[in-house]
Structure formats: C-alpha cells, structure tokens
C-alpha cells in the first residue's frame, strides 16, 4: 500500500484540525458556548447539521487516497506492508495499482459494475434497443443488463424484492441509530449527574436530531444495500453508475465550499483589520485594492484566470506525474481563484466594524495603558469580529457550491475528469435532446446538490439569527 497525498486532501484535513481546535476554544468560553447552544436549539438547525456532517464525512472519506501494490515491495514502511496483504484480498484485483480513496473501498462494486450504456434507475435492461442477429434474422432487442438484478429468477419479482430489501435496510438503520442513542444517552446521563445545578441549561432538541440521523442512516444503508443488486440511480452514456458519480462529486462540492473560505479568510481578516485599525495610507491602499478587484465581474475574472492557467498547464504537461495530480492541481487553483475574488466583501465589512470598535472606550483605555497595536487587535478587536466572520463563512458556502456547477458548465470549473455535479450536468445536458429523455443523471446531480445547499442555507439562517444582532 502506498499513500497518495493530493494537495486538496491535505488542506481538507488541515481544515478539520482547525474546526476541532475552534470547537475546543468554544467549549472553554462560556459566552460562545451559550451562543452555540442557542444555534442548536432550533430543530431545523439540528437536522441541517446532521445532513451537513454527513456530506462532510463522505468528503473526508473520499480524501484519503492510496494505491494497492500488486506485489510487496521492500521500500514500504512496516505498517503499510502489514496492511497491504489484507487490502489486496479485500480490493478487487482489477483495482490494484489504481489510486483509490477510502470511499472507493466501500463502493468497489459500483466502480466495477459498468454496463454498456444508459439504463434507467432500477432497470433490468438497457435503455435503448440494439440490433441483435438471431436465427430469425435481424431484430431490435433491449439487451439485459450485465450487473443489475442478477439475483432475480424472474424480472417480475423486482418490486417485491426492492420492498423486502428496503425493510431490511430500515430495520438495520433503526438498530444503528438505537446504538448511537444508547451510547450518547450514557454520556448525557453522566453529564446530567455531574452538572453544575446552579446553571440552568435549555435542553437541545435531541428528538429532531435523532429523527434526522435515522433518516440519513436509512437513506445511506438503503442506497448501499440496494446498490449491490441494482443501479439505483441508473447508468450514464458509458454505463457508469450514476449513484457512484453523485457521491464522488460530494468531495468536489465540499472542497470548493470549505477550502475557498480557508483561502479568503486570512486575506479578508488581515487586510480588513489593518485598514480599519491603522487607517491613513494603509487604509487607502487596501481600499483601492478591493475596489479594483471588486469592479471586475467575478465570473469573468475567474474565467480569465482559469483560461490562463489552462494554457500554462497545457504547455507544462511535464509538471505532473499523473492525471489525478493534474486534476487536483486544477481544483486547487480554482479554489485559490475563487478565494481571491471573494474576500473583498468580508474585508469591507471587517474594515467598517474595526473602525467602529477602535472608537469604543475600552480600546481607548487599552491604548492609554500602553498596550501595543497587535495585542489590542488580538484581545479586543478580533473577538468582536468573530461573529461577522462566522456569518460570512456560512453564508458563502452554499453560493460557492452552486457556483461550481455553473463554472463547470461554462468550461472554467474543475477538470472534466474530476467527478463533480457541474460536470455531470454538463454531460447530461445533451441527453435532454434524446427521445425519450435521459433524466436521471441530471436529477441526481441536482438532487444531491439541492440537499447540501438547502441544509447549508437553513443552518446559515440560524447562525445569522443568533449571532447577528441586527437580524431580529
């Protein structure tokens, strides 16, 4: 086994570390802990978080890449050479030597069950008829699918079979949720016994949490279980499973939504605070910078930058070892460009707020005590800006996910080989003209995207409601 580290993988895990660190610091401050509890006191926010963390976990699972070596080599470390034989047995031999992610381990059957061409969801035969030579001469026939419904003796049993399997999945997901509930309940009871009884704590809507969790687990188990027997969301033109593509696209969507904020945040914070705090010529320069960047239409700037980058990558094709690395570089570059074009709004907001805060008495007092500029920024200004930063981050996320689809459609998004909802839509667009229409690729790309964006929008509404004093 050889680990393959892509740049975006590394950054996503780094971001997770930042999250964990941020969560720990929230737990230490009673003030922000109270605010977060308030955010989660909404049933909708609770459910949205469950959905968002599912997407995020799938993206994380898809961000650990490795290759399985067909033969043991001596250069491997002890751990890798220990794991390799197990993986070799577990992973289908056809996938040895290919770059896989942890998510691919669980969906090998979807990678391998490639049909010849289009097939509808739950279909047992191909979508279009093909010409077959039989003893009666030439005939138009719908050929049966190679991988779907092979376990059925009779094609008519499909309805019954799906119902039975769905019930299995429901029962199983019920037990999984129950197990999580019991473990969680144990910790809650422990926390309840040892709590500080002088502090009154509003209960969180755990019922909605578990309802959402049960739904998510059920959908996942159902999809996973049935995908072994059918193409649940059909197959595309070259016979690839649409469910697999939609799930692989989650990583790209989450990457663009999250990592872009990681890129723009330091820029916006440093420049916004410096402009607001130091004023004078620094302020002038920074204002000039963001007005200039802002006055270029966003899509055009992104398009221009991506075009230039594309022509550079084309002339220097020797920079990258594999197509994955190249596609990953392009994704990273897109994220950088999106970050550079989107920091201006937050920067302007932070500048205005810093200007306001630096007029307040306690900052004047701190100055009078002889505190340096950087300590004032760190202790007094930064904490008072955090709510703005947070609101901007959650608000931007859904817009970025939607933007990815549009950019990929325009041809300046992610690499055509990277699985993404935009690429799926772009490819499926031409199928609209077919008669009868092939709708499932489009529908599942839009569906997966819609659920993510809706959850993000609902959550950001709640965050804004709690943290933004003007929202009431």
């Amino acid at each position: 086994m050889t680990m393959v580290w892509l740049w975006t993988d590394f950054l996503l895990w780094l971001l997770l570390m930042v999250f964990i660190f941020g969560w720990r610091s929230i737990r230490r401050s009673p003030q922000s802990q109270k605010q977060w509890r308030k955010i989660f006191q909404s049933k909708i926010a609770m459910a949205a978080v469950v959905v968002l963390s599912t997407y995020f976990s799938l993206a994380l699972l898809d961000s650990v890449h490795f290759k399985i070596n067909p033969q043991q080599t001596l250069q491997q470390g002890p751990v890798a050479s220990y794991i390799n034989p197990y993986l070799q047995d577990w992973v289908d031999p056809q996938l040895h030597g290919k770059t896989l992610s942890l998510l691919d381990l669980f969906s090998q059957h979807l990678i391998l069950s490639t049909e010849r061409t289009y097939s509808a969801p739950f279909a047992l035969q191909e979508y279009s008829s093909s010409i077959v030579y039989t003893e009666n001469g030439v005939e138009q026939q719908f050929k049966p699918l190679q991988y779907a419904g092979q376990h059925l003796d009779n094609p008519d049993e499909i309805f019954k079979d799906v119902i039975i399997k769905s019930i299995y999945a429901l029962v199983l997901s019920f037990f999984i949720t129950l197990a999580i509930w019991v473990v969680h309940g144990y910790f809650r009871i422990k926390a309840y016994i040892f709590r500080d009884i002088t502090v009154k704590i509003e209960p969180l809507p755990w019922n909605s949490f578990y309802l959402a969790l049960l739904t998510v687990i059920f959908v996942l188990t159902w999809l996973f279980y049935l995908s072994h027997y059918y193409h649940v969301l059909g197959t595309d033109k070259v016979g690839q499973d649409v469910l697999y593509q939609s799930i692989k696209a989650i990583r790209t969507g989450v990457m663009i939504g999250l990592l872009t904020t990681l890129v723009m945040l330091p820029l916006a914070l440093i420049l916004g605070i410096s402009a607001g705090y130091f004023k004078g010529w620094i302020d002038d320069i920074i204002q000039y910078l963001y007005t200039t960047l802002n006055s270029i239409p966003g899509v055009l700037l992104i398009a221009a930058a991506v075009l230039v980058m594309q022509s550079i990558l084309n002339t220097h094709s020797d920079w990258f070892g594999s197509t994955e690395e190249r596609a990953d570089m392009r994704l990273l570059f897109l994220i950088l460009i999106l970050g550079i074009t989107s920091w201006t709004g937050l920067c302007r907001l932070l500048r205005a707020e810093t200007l306001k805060i630096s007029q307040v008495e306690y900052v004047a007092a701190a100055k009078a005590f002889g505190l340096g500029g950087f300590s004032i920024i760190r202790r007094h200004i930064m904490p008072n800006l955090m709510h703005l930063v947070l609101i901007a981050l959650v608000l931007d996320f859904s817009g970025l996910v939607l933007a990815e689809a549009v950019l990929s459609y325009v041809g300046v998004g992610v690499d055509p080989t990277t699985p993404s909802w935009g690429n799926m839509i772009n490819q499926a667009r031409l199928e609209m003209a077919r008669e009868p229409m092939v709708w499932w690729s489009l529908a599942s790309a839009f569906g997966f995207m819609f659920i993510l964006v809706l959850a993000a929008n609902l959550f950001s509404d709640r965050v804004q409601w709690v943290l933004d004093p003007r929202a009431h």
Binding site: A405, G411, V453
Partner: protein
C-alpha cells in the same frame, strides 16, 4: 453637483488602471506572448522565427513595462503595457481570433442582451418587492412562514435546474414556446418569454428575503410607531412610509446593477441561443479567445464603476439628507 461628478469620474481612473493592470498581468505576464504564439501556431513545429513573426504581427514584440532601447518618455510609452492600455481606454479592442472587429461585435450583440436582461430585471424587482410587502403585511402568520420556506427552497436550487426544467416543460413537452433562438423585433417575443420568466423566478428567493428584511428593519423604527399611534392603518403605513423609506437601501442595490445589465447572462444566453454578450463571452471562453475575454473584463469593470457613481447621484435625488461634498 457637476464638480462632484467630475471628481468621482476622475477617482475611477486609478481603479480602471488597476483593473487594466490585473488583466495585463494575467494575459501577458502569467501567460507570456511566447506561450500565446506557441498555442496559436500549434505546439510541434514552431521555430523561434515563427514566434517572433507572430508577435510582431500582433504588436506583442515590445518589452512589458520598460523599453530600455527607447529614448526619454518613450521608455514608458513604447511598451506593451502602455500600448495595450491606451487601446483599451480608447475602447479599441482590436480583432478577435476569428478576425472580426471586437468593438463592432459588442455593439451588435448588446441589444439582444438588453432585450432579455432589462425585462427580467424590472419584472424581478417588481415581483420581489410586491411579495415582500405582502409578507411584511402578514408577518408572523402562516403565510409569512410558508413564503420564507419557499424562498429558501428557491434559493437552494441551482439556476441551471430552472433553465433545464423550463425548457423541458414549456418547450419540449407542451410546445408553448420554441426551445431556443432569437429574432429581433416584435416577432422575437416568443423566444424571450421563457428566459425572462425563468430569470425572474430564479432570482425571486433571494429578492424576497432581501426586501423583506429591509422593510422589517424600517418597520421597527420610531416614526412608524408614531404613525401607527396616530391611528394610521397598516396598509397606509406600509405604502406611505415603509415603502418610501425602504427605497433608499433598495436603490443602492439596484443602481449598481443597471449598467451591467447589457453584459447579459452567460448561462441564460448560451442555453437559449440568444446572440448577446453573455453567449459571446462564453463562446470566447470555450474558444480560448483572450482578446474578447479581455475586452469584456474591461467593459464590465467600467460599467460597475459607472454604477457606483450613479448610485451616489441617485442618493441625492431620493434622499435630501444626503449632501454631496
């Protein structure tokens, strides 16, 4: 007033130079003229002579910023950067790769873009403000909650979905309007209806929420309470006071957009086959025609800055408290 406008326009000059520098850096420094020549001539059999000839033909053979061979002021003016900038500021965009005059193309294609963008914008504004007023009138009721849920849902669906679904339903299944195409004049309305309606609907979610929050903020102010205390009924409060005073923040958002309308929408125009500036740009992007993209970036920023100046001017007209100085 006149002096103010002049000053604002002068203030725009350094910003335009900055924009120009960014596009220049992107198109000539990151992607050097040598790279462009190689890409244009084909990768394999390009000799240094061919590249030099291509560059000379385009005027790309000058140094980027400082021409050491020239004398005096020409050290700065006889460079690629200055030459390109002067051309842009004269709105002389040169020729596209297809050999057509870009300025002429832009003039020709702005009308179809306007034909789509202007009605979409006006209808969208009108619908969103009306719904927002209605929701504010019935705030706190089921209607309010339901509309806001609907607005979030509309916002969360990709714009591409509305276009595709609209085309499938109205054109392909029901044959109400043609799928795509364009025709100038009254005859062309049948081509415009669907893109306009889709454009209005897709923007409705964000619009309603935005205007509702503006009106609600206005609702909480003291003078509204006074008006109510005087016994003014709710509808009069809404239309006489809230709507009028809410116009100011609405204006800020609206005026900036007006000049950029003629840039058209990349996605809408390319889906509906409308020969406007949006589809012009998207075709240029796909054909990697840098000249057109550069021209559109410049025009876009000029229009944006124009929008900012117009916003300031419109403030003075609508709000007597704001004085320009």
């Amino acid at each position: 007033m006149f002096a103010y406008i002049v000053r604002r326009v002068l203030y725009a000059v350094p910003i335009l130079i900055g924009v120009n520098f960014i596009t220049f850096a992107l198109f000539f420094m990151v992607n050097t003229p040598d790279d462009m020549a190689r890409a244009q001539l084909g990768a394999k059999q390009t000799t240094p002579e061919m590249i030099a000839a291509w560059k000379q033909e385009r005027g790309y053979d000058k140094p980027l910023f400082i021409n050491l061979e020239a004398e005096g002021i020409a050290q700065i003016t006889d460079t690629l950067f200055t030459q390109e900038s002067i051309k842009l500021f004269k709105f002389d965009f040169g020729q596209s790769d297809a050999g057509r005059q870009i300025s002429a193309d832009i003039y020709e294609r702005m009308w179809p873009s306007l034909a789509i963008a202007l009605p979409t914008f006006i209808l969208g504004l009108f619908t969103a403000i009306s719904v927002a007023l209605l929701v504010v009138l019935f705030r706190g009721t089921v209607l309010d909650t339901a509309t806001m849920m609907l607005a979030v849902t509309i916002m969360s669906i990709s714009g591409l979905f509305y276009i595709i679904a609209g085309q499938v339903l109205f054109s392909k299944l029901w044959h109400w309007v043609p799928i795509s195409g364009y025709q100038p004049g009254v005859e062309g309305i049948k081509f415009l209806i669907l893109p306009i309606l889709i454009g209005v609907f897709a923007g409705l979610g964000t619009g309603i929420r935005w205007y509702r929050s503006i009106f609600l903020e206005e609702m909480n102010k003291d003078y509204i309470r006074t008006a109510r205390a005087k016994g003014l009924d709710e509808i009069k409060v809404l239309f006489r006071h809230v709507l009028r005073n809410g116009m100011l923040p609405i204006l800020t958002g609206v005026v900036v957009v007006i000049p950029t309308l003629f840039m058209g929408s990349l996605i809408m125009e390319s889906f509906f086959g409308i020969p406007g500036l949006g589809s012009y740009t998207i075709d240029a992007i796909n054909a990697q025609d840098f000249g057109i993209v550069k021209a559109m970036v410049f025009i876009g920023s000029v229009l944006y800055i124009l929008g900012l100046v117009l916003t300031d001017i419109s403030y003075t007209i609508f709000d007597p408290r704001v004085k320009l100085s």
